[in-house]
Symmetry: C2
Subunit: 138 residues, 2 copies
DNA sequence: CTGTATCCTTAGGGATACTG
DNA sequence: CAGTATCCCTAAGGATACAG
């Protein structure tokens, strides 16, 4: 299902870009855990392997989800920062999290709290975006 | 990354359930294209093969995304209908569609229209839900 | 019509060693 | 530190034939 194939279907378009096993987990680390460095991604619970991580970071840079620059505080490291394109995934990811919150028996949340979270969604997202306005880039 | 592994991460929880190549496309067909029968899924553009489709339908039934019943209008077919758990994916999918609408150069939508779509999101989702209240189930 | 059952292929991913 | 480069392996998926 190559990229040329996502004609006119926005869901397929999205899946072609981040519908694999690792992409959204990396995006999660960037947007919610504020990771910015290669070794920070490597340390994640899921134990991504070095070649896969490098490949995804490259793709994300090519697709303009991330920028890669030399870290000003340490000229021997790279810093990866989310672009607006990545930040724009926050609403979708927030809805995904809300969905899991209601349907995961392990973390199940009462409907009242769910409504509260949903009510807070905008501020939740705005809070995150604000963070990245300092750290992020476009 | 088996299911037992999605401890405390709602994104991983969601990806374990529908993070493969086909699941969200089937959900799309159910929620947006209102497909209900095996052969309707088979006819989709993406040409899913019979064994994969059967496997996903079974999993979705087990995970309570779908119910499977004998079609009252034709006792020799099955009808698959979305549960509330599946319907609850509408907000996430809508955000995914909105994201693609802004970032897919092919279907790119002007920011004004985008804001309009976003403003209409609730009614969009409610319209879909209403449809399924007749056809759907829980 | 709605699937199973097979068989086969391949892309994606894991482990590990190595490098600028 | 931030990756390549290998090598290998497996799960996922395609094609097709068959079955209830």
């Amino acid at each position: 299902m190559g990229k040329s194939n996502s004609k006119n279907c926005p869901i397929r378009f999205a899946l072609d870009l981040f519908g694999d096993k690792w992409s959204l987990l990396i995006i999660r680390d960037i947007l919610f855990k504020e990771k910015r460095y290669y070794d920070e991604f490597i340390e994640s619970d899921e134990k991504i392997s070095t070649n896969i991580l490098a490949d995804r970071l490259k793709k994300f840079e090519e697709e303009r989800f991330l920028t890669k620059e030399i870290d000003p505080t340490n000229k021997r490291r790279f810093i990866y920062r989310p672009t607006q394109k990545a930040l724009d995934l926050l609403p979708m990811l927030t809805e995904m999290i809300l969905w899991s919150a209601t349907h995961d028996p392990q973390t199940a949340v009462a409907p009242e709290s769910h409504r509260k979270i949903r009510g807070d969604k905008r501020s939740f997202i705005e809070r995150h975006k604000a963070k990245f306005r300092k750290k992020g880039t476009d």
